[in-house]
């Protein structure tokens, strides 16, 4: 058994939405500092898995620990240590890019994050004026600001232009250099496969 606690130790996770089991009996382990790709088509349960592990939603069955914390009893501890890049941008439309980031941390850090994702020139524009790609970059800035030790990235390449792809790969490399664990859910297996250390394939809610 590795000395440090496992980054993620999940067993028999399952979650239903009404009549359908979006996720059923998923178990896996991940050592810290690794990049894991969760691959699968749409509806395979990738998003549900990431949302359960980041404590956005509860599992109906099964249990797991993230960063050594139990997902039911120590949700706050997990939330402090993790960040989730979700399908939804988590942004306030009527607030500016800078104001959205200043909810998380002080002005200096917000400006640095904006610069990192190439949005400094639009810092004081309302998010409602942003394109989908710019919103994705701003959501990335939100993830970086939280300095997560475990980052959950759900379809990070969606809606991005080629420059955006390069940015995402740089950010993931930067997170890994910082010792963070990164879980990337994607259906673009070839792109992520190049730099992933581990892989988990899902098919309609089960481990393929």
């Amino acid at each position: 058994m590795p000395m440090e606690p496992l980054a993620i130790d999940a067993s028999h996770l399952a979650r239903r939405y009404g009549r359908r089991w979006a996720l059923s009996d998923v178990s896996f382990q991940l050592a810290p500092g690794k990049i894991m790709m969760v691959a699968g088509r749409n509806g395979s349960g990738k998003t549900t898995l990431l949302r359960i592990l980041s404590t956005a939603i509860r599992a109906d069955i099964g249990h797991a620990t993230v960063g050594g914390h139990d997902i039911v009893k120590e949700r706050d501890a997990i939330r402090r240590a993790t960040a989730l890049l979700a399908h939804q941008s988590y942004l306030y439309e009527s607030l500016t890019a800078r104001e959205n980031l200043e909810i998380i941390s002080g002005a200096p850090a917000a400006s640095a994050a904006l610069e990192r994702v190439g949005l400094l020139d639009r810092a004081n524009d309302a998010v409602s004026t942003f394109s989908a790609g710019m919103r994705k970059r701003l959501s990335f800035a939100r993830v970086l600001l939280q300095k997560p030790s475990i980052a959950f990235l759900d379809e990070p390449f969606g809606q991005l232009d080629p420059e955006g792809f390069a940015l995402v790969e740089e950010v993931i490399a930067e997170l890994k250099r910082g010792g963070a664990t990164v879980i990337v859910a994607t259906h673009q297996v070839d792109r992520v496969g190049r730099f992933a250390d581990a892989q988990l394939a899902l098919e309609n809610g089960r481990v393929a």
Partner: protein, 218 residues
């Protein structure tokens, strides 16, 4: 808590056009009430407090049902919870912001009442206190119900349907206290009504804070 409040007031400042529209709605409803009674000045003056609070209550559902609109867009609420921001801080920030907005609305409606119903009063501080306590009584459960109905269909009809029966004590106490302030309070009964308002606020500001995290967690 400060960051939460700052965000709330920023949000409200950005959507201040809506607040003006809600004020116009309130003023129009006060006008409509007088048509319902007729031009009889004495009767209007008698019911002035009741009309003020009915107008305020009806417009409060507009501000309250919008109060979680920003959070529901792009699932910003979940984004906050995952930072983590404690649900309790989120609730009290939102409830306080709603109270302030309803207080401003109430204060803005008072002159309309004074003009329309000839219901002038020299006891301004008492009226302000009643408005503060009454709007706090409306926005404590109102904020919680707005968070609940934001997750349901037909939230425009659900929020008043759930809120109005609940705040009957607030309406009774506020109307009584305000009319005592306007029409004179010989036996000093308003202190009893203010005590009732304080009790209601105490119960619901704590109870709703306790229950809020169950309402927003998934």
């Amino acid at each position: 808590m400060i960051a939460a409040l700052r965000k709330e007031f920023l949000l409200q400042w950005r959507t201040r056009a809506q607040a003006v529209a809600v004020f116009v709605f309130g003023a129009t409803s006060l006008l409509l009430f007088s048509f319902a009674i007729g031009p009889n000045a004495a009767a209007l003056r008698q019911h002035a407090a009741g009309f003020l609070w009915l107008g305020l209550l009806l417009s409060s559902t507009l501000t309250l049902s919008e109060s979680f609109h920003a959070e529901m867009e792009n699932r910003a609420l979940e984004g906050l919870l995952l930072l983590p921001v404690s649900p309790r801080v989120l609730y009290y920030g939102k409830a306080l912001a709603n109270t302030v907005q309803l207080m401003l609305l109430g204060i803005a409606l008072v002159p309309v009442m004074v003009v329309l119903y000839d219901a002038g009063t020299t006891r301004i501080p008492i009226v302000l206190l009643i408005i503060a306590l009454g709007t706090a009584g409306i926005s404590a459960p109102g904020t919680l119900y707005s968070a609940m109905t934001a997750q349901a269909r037909a939230k425009q009809t659900l929020l008043p349907l759930l809120l109005f029966p609940l705040i009957v004590p607030v309406l009774l106490a506020s109307v009584k206290a305000t009319s005592l302030a306007i029409l004179g309070d010989p036996m000093d009964q308003s202190s009893a009504w203010l005590a009732l308002l304080v009790a209601f606020d105490g119960i619901y500001w704590s109870l709703c804070g306790l229950l809020f995290d169950r309402v927003v967690e998934d």
